[in-house]
């Protein structure tokens, strides 16, 4: 496929919308009480309902509804007081009912948004709707001795609770799509409605992509690109698709509405089916389920139970703790990280220093050990205590840098380590003064140089004092005292 060069692409305006499927973190499936265990032997988490045996009926899991409502609220959607399930009819071996139970013209929630920032520019991306549906099973086409002739079906995943989040066609670049998906994932993880683990298929993404000449008002014909199961693929596929479409249009071709599949190996998208042979899903209201009602009272209760959303938290970290935007962003990447930070900040009483220690030294130790913040051997409380000792001058920064690895190793609080190793800052001013006097006496040449205006020598003298105190003298105290004594 001929791709358009950048200067040609620059004449065009890409228009992108995303459809994101998220598996809800419920204990059971959406319409039966089968467990949602990952990695169970094939076809073991099944029952008459998810096997679609004759006579079996779906019963909606209210746990799933609760998570779907929370997700909708996290995306600033209006949750409809009444929504309805519908059947989406199609034949496929991993769809045992012969239809998917989804929501069609009356979805759970609508009219939301996600705020993104790309290259320092803020933008609001509309969320058209959030609706609930059940997942299909898995068709296994290879890995068996007779895979050349047979396909196997595993129905463990069949009936997994999903929400589909449909965005407005508000994105104008693959970077914006990337940022949107990042923000969306972060928000859903914060409210704990899903692990959003893309490798396990808990977050799946399709992109609708079209191009139009810059300044045009009418969107071009779009292609739906499926199988974008990583953030990197999302970006690659969209960029490929934009270049392909521009080349097509520039060469006088006509875009057809179609579904395309992203091939991760080649980095290309290939046509799967055109609109003409698209399924007629024959949607109609699901007669086995009653309309889903979400009362104002329930909604209010769920809203009250929601944690602070990452975007709000980020803003607060800047205003309340005086952090830089970038630091606030790093510290709100995950909910455990943000909670860890807030505890360190609160225990230490020094949010800025707390941020530096968390993002610097502790992050380094965690990275080297291959651990997540949730697994940190140093608790937030202990790190807070360490930061507090530094801030109050009870421990020098240098000593603290030696103490932290020991805390990391043993899980101990900083206090006992500092005591045991005698690292506490010298609080006896007389002792500090004595060391200073000794250093002045032992270095007359440097003292002379200082008095004659070579103030740079001060660093050497302070170093000598610190050395003599084995790092336990507070640097600012030493500085002040030396200056006074040297006049």
């Amino acid at each position: 496929m001929e791709l358009a060069p950048p200067e040609l692409i620059a004449k065009y305006q890409p228009v992108i919308g995303l459809e994101v499927h998220v598996q809800l973190a419920t204990r059971t499936k959406i319409f039966c009480s089968c467990e949602m265990a990952f990695g169970a032997p094939p076809n073991t988490n099944v029952c008459p309902v998810c096997l679609a045996l004759p006579g079996a009926l779906p019963v909606l899991s209210m746990d799933a509804v609760e998570l779907a409502v929370k997700a909708s609220l996290a995306l600033h959607c209006r949750v409809n007081p009444v929504s309805r399930f519908a059947r989406k009819n199609y034949f496929y071996p991993d769809s045992p009912k012969g239809y998917q139970i989804s929501q069609y013209d009356e979805p759970l929630a609508e009219h939301g948004y996600v705020d993104i920032t790309v290259d320092g520019v803020k933008k609001r991306i509309g969320v058209t709707r959030v609706h609930m549906e059940d997942d299909a099973g898995k068709s296994v086409h290879d890995g068996f001795r007779d895979s050349d002739r047979n396909t196997y079906v595993d129905l463990n995943r069949c009936g997994a609770p999903l929400i589909e989040i449909v965005s407005e066609p508000d994105m104008r670049s693959s970077d914006e799509a990337y940022a949107y998906l990042t923000e969306l994932k972060q928000a859903l993880q914060f409210v704990e409605v899903s692990t959003c683990d893309m490798e396990k298929g808990h977050l799946r993404c399709d992109a609708n992509v079209s191009v139009m000449l810059k300044g045009a008002e009418k969107f071009g014909t779009r292609a739906e690109v499926k199988n974008l199961n990583s953030f990197r693929f999302l970006k690659l596929a969209i960029d490929y698709e934009i270049a392909r479409q521009v080349a097509l249009v520039e060469s006088g071709g006509r875009m057809v509405q179609e579904t395309r599949l992203f091939n991760a190996d080649s980095g290309e998208t290939v046509s799967m089916r055109s609109k003409e042979d698209a399924h007629d899903y024959r949607y109609f209201p699901e007669p086995d389920l009653v309309p889903l009602r979400v009362s104002d009272e329930w909604k209010a209760r769920l809203a009250a139970s929601m944690p602070e959303l990452p975007a709000d938290k980020r803003q607060r970290f800047v205003t309340e703790y005086g952090l830089r935007e970038y630091d606030a962003q790093v510290l709100t990447l995950t909910r455990p990280m943000s909670e860890f930070y807030e505890e360190v900040a609160s225990v230490s009483g020094d949010p800025k220093t707390a941020a530096n220690w968390l993002m610097g030294d502790l992050a380094g130790l965690l990275k080297a050990a291959g651990k997540e913040i949730e697994e940190s051997p140093v608790s937030a409380k202990h790190l807070g205590e360490l930061v507090a000792m530094v801030s109050k001058g009870e421990l020098t920064g240098k000593s603290a840098k030696d103490v932290l690895p020991k805390m990391f190793e043993t899980g101990e609080a900083p206090g006992p380590i500092v005591d045991r190793e005698g690292l506490k800052t010298m609080s006896d001013m007389g002792a500090v003064e004595k060391i200073i006097d000794d250093v002045i006496a032992a270095n007359p040449k440097q003292v002379e140089q200082y008095k004659s205006g070579k103030t740079a020598v001060m660093g050497f003298l302070v170093g000598q004092v610190m050395k003599a105190s084995r790092g336990q003298a507070a640097a600012n105290v030493v500085n002040d005292m030396l200056k006074t004594k040297l006049g």
Binding site: P48, L51, P54, G55, N89, P96, V290
Partner: protein, 473 residues
């Protein structure tokens, strides 16, 4: 066996005239001997029946109550799942399907001491009005063996009429209990939609499907319904409403009960059926009921509405019989598409295929609004007709079918005429109200005719009170 009722079985057990095991053995051997005449049973379940009977005998021996259905031989339409027993839906596609779980109704019947002795023939997937659409041969009407027993629950009606079961379960989507009850001269009840759990009833048209009882008198039908009725967490559409004691409602007193006769129904009624129904009206008047004409103005649209909704839902409900899992699979299909086409093409009978195609058509893109959506609107109007009528009357009475049992083969090649035989039963189904058929006499040829009684949602008590009084007067 032929004469037993629920209360006579109970009396016999408690007086030790017979044990539940003895009665079950006798019922099974009688039913097996009689069955070739009618082909009403598709299978018998002696092991399960005897095990249930033994439990009843043990209860009695322990001085406990045998249960509301203690020792009563029950036959079950073969569209209701019975664990460990074949549940074929009278279809080749499920010829070898053994149900791995019990329908909620079945669990409740056995918990009340009922003894399931066999599964009954019906129209394939409950689609039909004569029981001639069974993959395992038609059922003959025990009253006149050259005639149909009605459908789709023809087998369940026949076994009760024949005396090879005391009571039975049918399913009703557009008249499949009331019409065969009328043809066979017994009582058949379609309860309020949601009154009995549909869990384990093989779906034909989910928004219209009901499980309901057949019996030789109203009291037995009411007892069986009471056992099955009530909220089931496995069926989201089952009703929360408490289940009253239906026996207590049957006081025999119907004086002053206001009864409506829909003019739209009577204008079609002719011949002996109309004569017998009209005679019933006079009888009700003589019993002290106040009769008046009422109007259900949207009745004329009922058949079209029904066939759009039921076929649409059926086309989706029957998608699961695809040859991939439990359905009998067509052999030698090279591709997935062939597997579907061959399995379904060879497996489904003509009437089922006809309805799947109709339903697929009315739901397809561009037709949904014109057919399905409009049909739902008309369905609401029909329901409103009834709701309005029930502000004026306590019950509505009408014919069940325009004609009595017809001859086998008479209508098989005329589906439209067959569909018309449901003309009086479909409106009640669409509205989801309780309705029943109770015998009101025989034609000169000795063919039974049923009187239909319809009441408002959850108005079963009034319906049973009227039917019981009518039956005993």
């Amino acid at each position: 066996m032929t004469k037993h009722t629920i209360s006579s079985v109970r009396a016999g057990l408690l007086s030790k005239e017979f044990s539940a095991v003895e009665l079950t053995r006798q019922a099974l051997s009688f039913a097996e001997a009689e069955n070739p005449k009618t082909n009403a049973y598709l299978s018998f379940s002696p092991e399960r029946a005897l095990a249930a009977a033994e439990r009843v005998d043990a209860r009695i021996a322990a001085g406990e109550d045998p249960g509301a259905l203690g020792g009563v031989p029950v036959a079950v339409k073969d569209v209701i799942l019975t664990k460990g027993l074949k549940t074929t839906c009278a279809s080749k596609l499920l010829e070898n399907f053994i149900a791995p779980y019990d329908a909620t109704a079945i669990e409740r019947i056995e918990a009340a001491g009922g003894v399931i002795i066999g599964k009954t023939n019906c129209d394939e997937f409950a689609m039909g009005s004569s029981n001639e659409n069974s993959a395992f041969g038609p059922v003959r009407n025990p009253v006149a063996l050259d005639r149909v027993p009605g459908g789709s629950s023809g087998g369940s009606a026949a076994v009760v009429a024949q005396g090879t079961a005391v009571v039975s379960l049918g399913s009703d989507t557009g008249g499949s209990i009331r019409q065969p009850a009328s043809f066979c001269g017994i009582v058949g009840v379609t309860p309020t939609y949601g009154r009995v759990s549909r869990y384990g009833l093989v779906a034909f048209a989910s928004s219209l499907d009901h499980i309901g009882p057949f019996a030789r008198n109203t009291r037995d039908a009411a007892t069986l319904l009471e056992v099955m009725a009530g909220r089931d967490p496995k069926d989201a559409t089952s009703a929360e409403a408490p289940v009253p004691s239906y026996a207590a409602s049957m006081t025999g007193n119907v004086k002053g009960l206001k009864i409506g006769i829909p003019v739209e129904y009577m204008k079609h009624a002719t011949g002996e059926t109309a004569d017998l129904v009209n005679a019933s009206f006079r009888k009700l008047q003589a019993m002290g009921c106040e009769l008046r004409e009422i109007s259900l103005p949207n009745t004329d649209y009922a058949i079209d509405t029904y066939y759009i909704i039921c076929t649409a839902e059926a086309s989706s409900n029957l998608a699961r019989y695809d040859g991939v899992r439990y359905t009998t699979r067509s052999q030698n299909s090279g591709t997935l598409s062939d597997l579907y086409k061959n399995t379904r093409g060879e497996g489904f009978g003509a009437e089922v295929k006809r309805r799947i195609m109709l339903g697929t058509y009315v739901l397809s893109h561009g037709y949904y609004d014109a057919y399905y959506k409009k049909a739902q609107m008309v369905r609401n109007l029909i329901t409103q007709d009834f709701n309005k009528a029930f502000t004026e009357v306590d019950a509505i009475v009408a014919p069940v079918s325009p004609f009595p049992a017809f001859k086998l083969g008479e209508k098989v090649n005329d589906p439209i005429s067959m569909y018309l035989s449901d003309i009086y039963t479909i409106t009640g189904s669409l509205a989801g109200i309780p309705c029943m058929s109770t015998p009101c006499g025989n034609t000169s040829e000795g063919l039974p005719v049923g009187l239909q009684i319809l009441c408002k949602h959850f108005g079963e008590e009034t319906m049973f009170r009227l039917a019981d009084a009518f039956e005993n007067s």
